[in-house]
Assembly symmetry: C2
Homo-oligomer: 190 residues x 2
């Protein structure tokens, strides 16, 4: 009995948010599936880029990768189309309570989002502060503004609260970022 | 000496186009790089989707994939943005001389392209007949028309010649499909 309680406490200490059992990636997958099935948008996560160095062919139909390495992604994780507009974003979680370290995003991913913006697309970050369970959408134009005016290596939570857009927790879709895009870019009244 | 000639002949027999040393994928990579550097469009090939089942961590910085499998892709290989429009396509080569087998394209890839079209994006196939060295762009709306009116399991070359758009061989970019899109969708006079 004592052991069980101990185990439970330890688990809670390790990662409070994980007790809900859902990562931001899970929530986005479920949300994108919802958008697709309901014909609202076509947005997918890109596969993880890998360099394959050894492949075995045990049968004609099946290839088994025996050696491979993770590559640094050239772009962001998610892209697709919504209301005729090209959509592109990166999603990150942080366990920190008061700021989001910029080391979580590669410089070339920020450049990629800037290029998307320049070509008429919609680019942004989705950042979840897991401990306080708040998820924000930060448009690339807002992030660019921050980077121009700051030398800080992290974005304070207060900056997200002031200049970003909170994505409300919902049942379905769980992370309704299109609702936020409606508000910012499509003149919706949310 | 005799052996060398023999080897060369065999090589020529196996794949004539390969002697040029460039696959359609290479040509598209070079073209997309050209578009990116010249600020014309931001279009990337997606990574190959893989299910990873075993990973070793020989050091803190490096992970080595020891077992993985290729997954069937949910979408197409290429997407991005051009002149504010969402672009999405699949590219295939065939060694056949008179038709392109539809077995080269998954049904869900065709459905994906249809969805893109419905949401206001531009979707198409790029098909290269390697032996005659002709590369065509076939818009999804033209492909859909073919599929509705045919029960054939392959698209004849003549259909590409009549209803598709040839992509001219160029030095740079090698496969200038944006020039074709200009003509079809942006009122360009090519």
């Amino acid at each position: 009995m004592k052991k069980m309680i101990g185990t439970r406490n330890n688990y809670n200490n390790i990662n409070t948010y994980a007790n809900r059992g859902m990562t931001l990636e899970d929530d986005l997958k479920a949300s994108n599936d919802y958008y697709l099935v309901n014909d609202k948008a076509v947005i997918y996560k890109k596969p993880t880029p890998i360099t394959i160095s050894k492949v075995n062919y045990p049968s004609r139909v099946e290839a088994v990768i025996k050696e491979g390495y993770f590559k640094t992604p050239s772009t962001t994780d998610y892209n697709g189309i919504y209301k005729g507009k090209y959509i592109d974003f990166e999603a990150k979680e942080t366990k920190l309570k008061t700021s989001f370290p910029l080391s979580n995003i590669h410089a070339h991913q920020i450049n990629h989002l800037k290029q998307i913006y320049k070509h008429g697309g919609i680019g942004f970050l989705i950042v979840r502060f897991t401990v306080i369970n708040k998820t924000f959408l930060l448009p690339i134009e807002v992030l660019t503004d921050f980077l121009v005016n700051n030398t800080r290596k992290s974005i304070p939570l207060s900056y997200f609260e002031k200049n970003g857009y909170i994505i409300k927790d919902k049942y379905n879709p769980r992370v309704d970022y299109l609702e936020v895009l409606d508000k910012i870019y499509f003149g919706g009244n949310v």
